[in-house]
């Protein structure tokens, strides 16, 4: 019980640290949101219109008091669940905007992660089973190489190859001429728009699973219980699936939980390149516009997701493998 209490205590403490850092990090950057917004709207080759800057400062409300008192104010707002008003999407609230983008990213990322986890674990397990065979070598070599490619670079090649070159997929946006909702037209539209961003993410993500699963499985295949099972004359299939693979899966599953939390960061670049209407694009935009309320909320969301995933993974590990309780504390 103490173990779980400690975990939760740490969770709350870390959350506070993250909230604090989220508040101060963006504000320590140089640049004025109002000037930035006017400049962006006008373009690089335009003189900054001081009247417009003044008006926008008025509109967004110039923060009063020291940074310190603003911080306390922010904590108070958070306690009431108030995330403030977005600068970029004024007068809409931060949560309203995030609500629009949320499902786009969640669906994209879930599909990509589940698929890549499945593919990665399968390939890894199979490679380990046929260790040092041709399949193993090919999988290890290819997945190592592919995993080192820059997502940006892959996106570029995909856009020009499959997007413009062959004209198979839409290259920007989440959908085009259908009405969002549960209808075939929209689902189809969304899939044809989401394919390239998903593929870009897919190419890079399974790699960790492949190698991780392969190595753990190799270790497990060397364990006594597997040798025993083999010696007992159990069929290969049973040994592989029921014994080795199942045990090798444990670290991968907890790893999967951890990876889900950190996934938002990875979507910033891909969503931006594909003009995909999700949270990653929103985060890139908030950084660019110095939309502090938006940035804070998104960073908090990311951090909470990561923390929760960590907590779940830790607790899960503690339950599944009592030996790990002390080591993982």
């Amino acid at each position: 019980m103490k173990y779980f209490l400690r975990k939760v205590g740490f969770f709350v403490l870390t959350l506070w640290a993250v909230v604090t850092l989220n508040f101060f990090i963006p504000r320590l950057q140089p640049g004025d949101p109002a000037e930035l917004m006017v400049q962006k709207l006008a373009g690089k080759n335009a003189q900054l219109n001081p009247a417009q800057v003044a008006a926008i400062r008025d509109m967004l409300g110039t923060p009063t008091g020291s940074l310190w008192s603003q911080y306390w104010q922010y904590l108070g707002q958070l306690a009431h669940g108030n995330f403030g008003v977005s600068y970029t999407y004024f007068p809409f609230g931060v949560m309203q905007v995030i609500g629009q983008a949320f499902w786009w990213t969640v669906i994209l990322v879930t599909i990509v992660q589940v698929l890549s986890f499945g593919i990665g674990v399968l390939l890894g397990a199979f490679a380990a089973w046929k260790r040092n065979g041709r399949f193993d070598t090919a999988v290890t070599l290819v997945s190592t190489f592919v995993g080192t490619l820059q997502p940006f670079w892959i996106a570029l090649l995909l856009i020009y190859g499959l997007g413009y070159g062959l004209g198979w997929f839409a290259t920007s946006g989440g959908y085009e001429d259908s009405t969002p909702g549960f209808n075939w037209g929209f689902v189809y539209d969304a899939i044809s728009h989401g394919f390239l961003p998903a593929l870009t993410l897919m190419i890079v993500t399974p790699v960790g699973w492949v190698l991780g699963m392969r190595n753990t499985m190799v270790l497990n295949l060397g364990e006594d219980y597997v040798r025993l099972a083999k010696a007992k004359g159990l069929p290969d299939k049973v040994v592989a699936l029921r014994y080795a693979a199942r045990n090798a899966l444990l670290p991968s599953v907890t790893g999967f939980a951890l990876a889900l939390g950190g996934v938002l960061g990875g979507t910033i670049l891909v969503e931006t390149v594909f003009d995909y209407p999700g949270l990653g694009r929103l985060m890139g935009e908030a950084v660019g516009y110095k939309d502090y309320p938006m940035l804070q909320a998104l960073m908090l969301l990311t951090a909470v997701a990561t923390l929760l995933a960590n907590l779940v993974a830790d607790l899960l590990y503690g339950v599944l493998d009592p030996r790990a309780r002390r080591a993982q504390a």
Binding site: L41, N45, L122, F169, P180, Y188, L282
Partner: protein
């Protein structure tokens, strides 16, 4: 071997799914493109549809707001309208919701409001709408984006009243230089915006507007606007449907333009001639109109830039042609040292410079002359091969440039290698654009690239680069980044602020030109563009180099009235 079979099956399913989607998507996109091509013929001189990028410069769709006084709105151009439209290239004024303007002295401006204009809900547009809109800006400063009630560009307004069909604006003092910006205020319906409290916080979902288009449909991404048949100049609008969709980066925009998925674009695209025009010179066109200048802004409070002789040498010693080639693919001409964009503003040049449309104000690259000027001014070379200040102190300079602006970085590299060839120890330091902005405020830099506005109001255009009052402060970036200060210039600008007589305006602008030509406060490199990148398969009559009737980037309202169906 069950594992293998499962694996093979999974891969097979995935592959077939991929092929299925790709096959369908492929044929669908091709089909749409085909449909668009067939549409392009036009019916009865009308243009069935034009595709433009979204005017909403942000990613998340589905949040509907047409309020023109929100920082971002779904439609900026086609719903709400201004009193008059001024073309920022020729400075001609086109009557819009007002038919005429009159200055009484320099502190009273009268607009005659157009009769017979209807709001899209059928009610009549009246001078009261104008008065209400402008007075709301007084009550809610957040709405006053053009500084009507502040001293931003001239004396603040003191009252806005209606008198019959006229709207009279009085100012606390000379305010002629406010004219260009006041015109741009978009007029909103009094009966709606007058009752919503702070208009900037109002979410306008059902716009009641006077403009040429009405909202057709919006699915969160694709916004369709339909022609307004009751528009007050409906006879001039030939476009039946406008589709606004997507924010594209430069590369995607090129592809969309090439495919005909976009008909008009004003953003940057890479190497426009090579990537866009050359593949289909019949249909694809670009026009990059001079609209201000990209200038070298040295810090005049620091040695050696505080010495006018050094600045003069620099004006001859940098290869502007080469800089333009690298930054604008050679599309933009070398800029005139006068600070005016030529040939558009050539009539404003004082007699001494007016010959041949101001040819003598465009300084050619002449490193020999630059070396000679530096030698004569006492900047002798030390043993290390670098020049020293006349007082013997060493010169070591940095060129601050925005990291990531590859055109600016190419210019900085070029200028630095030119100056090093003259024996000046200077190197490039690239920083975050935000950090460069911070340097503009603090003045802690040696030299950087800046933008010099052209515009029609010379106090806030050229004047912004030269006026003492326009030196940036600790909190606000203003135009006079190089920190030039000269009482003669300040007096000329003050005079311009109260001047409505064009002959006298020319005299005062002459003072500015003379300052630029003899004092070299900044060194213009090449003109900055207003871009028109367009296709002529559906519509003809776009502003172009042959027919430069308006600024393509800022004056979409004007070109919309000039478009006709392609033949």
């Amino acid at each position: 071997m069950g594992l293998r079979r499962t694996l093979v099956a999974v891969i097979a399913v995935l592959t077939s799914l991929t092929l299925l989607t790709t096959g369908c998507a492929g044929s669908r996109l091709a089909h749409e493109r085909e449909a668009r091509r067939n549409h392009s013929g036009g019916t009865g001189g009308m243009i069935p549809q034009l595709n433009l990028p979204a005017e909403f410069d942000a990613s998340v769709g589905g949040l509907v707001n047409y309020n023109p006084y929100a920082p971002q709105q779904l439609v900026k151009t086609w719903l709400y309208e201004p009193l008059m439209v001024q073309d920022s290239l020729s400075c001609g004024v086109t009557p819009w919701l007002a038919t005429k303007y009159t200055w009484v002295g320099s502190n009273k401006l009268i607009f005659d409001i157009r009769q017979g204009v209807k709001w899209s809900d059928g009610s009549a547009f009246t001078p009261n709408d104008v008065v209400t809109t402008l007075n709301l800006m007084k009550k809610y400063p957040a709405m006053d984006v053009n500084g009507l009630w502040t001293s931003a560009f001239g004396a603040p307004a003191t009252s806005v009243t209606a008198q019959g069909d006229q709207v009279i604006i009085t100012f606390a003092g000379p305010a002629v230089s406010k004219f260009s910006s006041i015109l741009g205020n978009l007029i909103v319906p009094a009966k709606i915006y007058g009752k919503v409290g702070d208009p900037t916080k109002y979410v306008d979902k059902k716009p009641v507007s006077t403009g040429p288009f009405l909202v057709g449909s919006y699915n969160g991404r694709r916004l369709e606007l339909d022609r307004n048949p009751d528009y007050w100049q409906a006879d001039k609008i030939k476009v039946q449907k406008l589709v606004l969709q997507g924010n594209y980066d430069a590369n995607q925009a090129v592809q969309m333009l090439r495919n005909g998925d976009l008909d008009f674009y004003t953003g940057e695209i890479p190497n426009p001639i090579k990537t866009f025009v050359d593949p289909n010179p019949q249909l694809n066109h670009v026009w990059y109109a001079p609209n201000g200048s990209t200038v070298l802004a040295p810090n005049l409070t620091r040695k050696p830039f505080s010495d006018v002789r050094f600045r003069e040498a620099m004006a001859y010693g940098v290869n502007k042609q080469q800089a333009s080639l690298k930054a604008t693919y050679g599309l933009m001409q070398v800029a005139s040292q006068s600070g005016l964009t030529l040939p558009a503003k050539k009539d404003l040049l004082p007699p001494g410079y007016a010959l041949n449309g101001g040819a003598s104000t465009i300084l050619a690259y002449d490193p020999a002359k630059a070396n000679q000027l530096l030698d004569a001014a006492g900047y002798t070379k030390g043993p290390d091969g670098f020049r020293r200040n006349p007082d013997g102190s060493p010169i070591k300079l940095t060129f601050a440039v925005q990291a990531g602006f590859i055109d600016y970085q190419a210019v900085a590299d070029e200028v630095v290698s030119n100056l090093r060839a003259l024996g000046i120890d200077i190197s490039v330091v690239a920083s975050q654009p935000d950090s460069v902005d911070a340097l503009k405020k603090t003045g802690d830099f040696d030299i950087m690239i800046n933008y010099m506005a052209a515009g029609c109001d010379y106090v806030n255009g050229v004047g912004a680069t030269l006026a003492t009052a326009q030196i940036p402060t600790k909190t606000t970036i203003l135009g006079n980044v190089e920190r030039y200060s000269n009482p003669t210039v300040d007096q000329a600008l003050k005079n311009l602020n109260g001047e409505t007589d064009q002959a006298k305006v020319k005299d005062e602008v002459g003072v500015l030109v003379n300052t630029m030509m003899t004092q070299y406060p900044v060194v213009p490199l090449f003109y900055a563009p207003a871009r028109a990148i367009y296709r002529t398969d559906k519509a003809a009559g776009w502003p172009s180099a042959e027919d430069p009737y308006c600024n393509p980037q800022d004056n979409a309202r004007i070109w919309m009235t000039r478009l006709s169906a392609a033949k």
